[in-house]
Symmetry: C2
Subunit: 361 residues, 2 copies
Amino acid sequence: MTTIYNFSAGPAVLPKEVLQQAAAEMLDWHGSGMSVMEMSHRGPEFISIYRAAERDLRDLLAVPDNYRILFMQGGGLSQNAVIPMNLVGRKRDPVVDFIHTGSWSGKSIKEAARYAKVNVAASAQESRYTRVPPQSEWKLTPDAAYLHLCTNETIDGVEIDFVPEVPAGVPIVADMSSHILSRQVDVAKYGVIFGGAQKNIGPAGVTVVIVRDDLIGHALPICPSAFDWKNVAENESMFNTPPTYGIYIAGLVFQWLKRQGGIAAMEQRNIEKARLLYAALDADDFYQNRVDPQYRSRMNVPFYLRDESKNEAFLAGAKARGLLQLKGHKSVGGMRASIYNAMPIEGVQALVDYLNEFAGR
Amino acid sequence: MTTIYNFSAGPAVLPKEVLQQAAAEMLDWHGSGMSVMEMSHRGPEFISIYRAAERDLRDLLAVPDNYRILFMQGGGLSQNAVIPMNLVGRKRDPVVDFIHTGSWSGKSIKEAARYAKVNVAASAQESRYTRVPPQSEWKLTPDAAYLHLCTNETIDGVEIDFVPEVPAGVPIVADMSSHILSRQVDVAKYGVIFGGAQKNIGPAGVTVVIVRDDLIGHALPICPSAFDWKNVAENESMFNTPPTYGIYIAGLVFQWLKRQGGIAAMEQRNIEKARLLYAALDADDFYQNRVDPQYRSRMNVPFYLRDESKNEAFLAGAKARGLLQLKGHKSVGGMRASIYNAMPIEGVQALVDYLNEFAGR
């Protein structure tokens, strides 16, 4: 049977070991006689699963003690509203700064405008979202409620690989949905880090929010109580019933990451995987990735065939070789290979071999 | 090995056949080479899973064509905010009517008060939430934005087994979280039916909302776009990434329900299970269920030992016999047996045998 490699941008490939363990434990978790899906979230079995997941994520990212880790619902998209609902109440006449680097930061801008004045401090629109505007051009608000960045644009394939300078006291809010856990991060430089789980963490339906203590407790009265970070933090993410099975799978992924050597080791592998793939795309002009090499994402690699009439043949040939879900996002067309943590280097090599073969190299 | 029967109020027992199928398909769904967790929500595989789940739920509840079925996130608790955000914009100076029958309707009242004027048209507080106030006492608002009912109070064990008369044009919004699919319902009598999945549908993290077409499209500007029913309905629940694996499991539960003979057949079994259990509790005064027999829930059966010093011994003996998660909710104490669709009559019989044995009958 052909080995399958799944390049989906999310929901995305999971480590095989994780799926094997989940299958083996499906009907009886650790002799409890119950599936994890059947456990009360307030029982000792699930509480132990929850706390292990929280602790392992804290270890992996070296999250400082003055940050809470929240497991929520609604995805990154819902946090685009939940974040201003929780943060703009700290200011009179709040302004939220954004750097517009692609599709996801664009969505965040639209959503935040429901709750505060929005300032697009810099935009990559003129470059068609192929670079990060240089910091010298950013027009930041001195007293902004926060600065929102999408540090990895899943659709555009642009990654912000630095922590910007910001006016004193302005928290940086980073949407890391599609590259969290793929590289080392200094959490203390951020006010909020958030992400939907369905790329590098686990199944869709879990949203991770890492938030500094002092930013909790300022929710607007219109914020639904289930999305008030204070309620979530004070109840160990169990103010309402959490997505228990998704948290369990995320916990298995965290354990797997630890067995792989943690984030530093994963980052080295991700650098190597990205190097391999971009080199194949850059070898001649048969394929094209349009992103400024300095800002190319290590996780999401959009590319185009010079001759787009060959798109269908390319995808059919890929599928025949077990290389799945390579079609680009409908808004930008072309192809996209997402090479998250759970994509082994063998999968990238198989894709590179196919890229060379299809290009007749 | 002892057979395990899990009486958790939610997350709760699932059909064993469903878990077996999920385990078998975990690494490779129908020859796709992918786990359901790894599939793009926009790919043909998951779309087919989604559409089958939607269609089967529509069949089971005989949902009319002018109702949309939405699969959302956030649980019943989040809908307590999402519902007013979607419905009160239809009125100038909106009033929302509530019948306060227990803990869950109480939470709904508090949450709705953030978005509209609330009128508690009737309350069972004086009876300590052991009955439904008679309809003759309900003080309904003629032009209410909607009337909210919790048709089964999971903690208090009170079930509303009738559809009330309401002023013309006032939609009934029913929180059916803990008894949806347990009995036949005339959907056309309601404006909105909603529920968290983690009792009678599937795993926590999926929220089902069944809403009449004309009630869609009125969201307040402060409603997060991911929770605007219009966005959800127009995008087949894929405005943002849905909780794909939970929807898949829910779909397997719907197929299982069809194999059991559908809701009419389940209702007959649920009547028999409830009859057995209440009869054992009523046999003498060793145990006590305080709910007016007319309004006793078929799904959630709270009860107390006359001598509460025996509580720990009762729970320990139950656990030794494989009868799990019988402890009552912390807010009311005592015991609670939840006997959802997936609880076989053999489980109820085992509990009844133990109740008799422990009472020395």
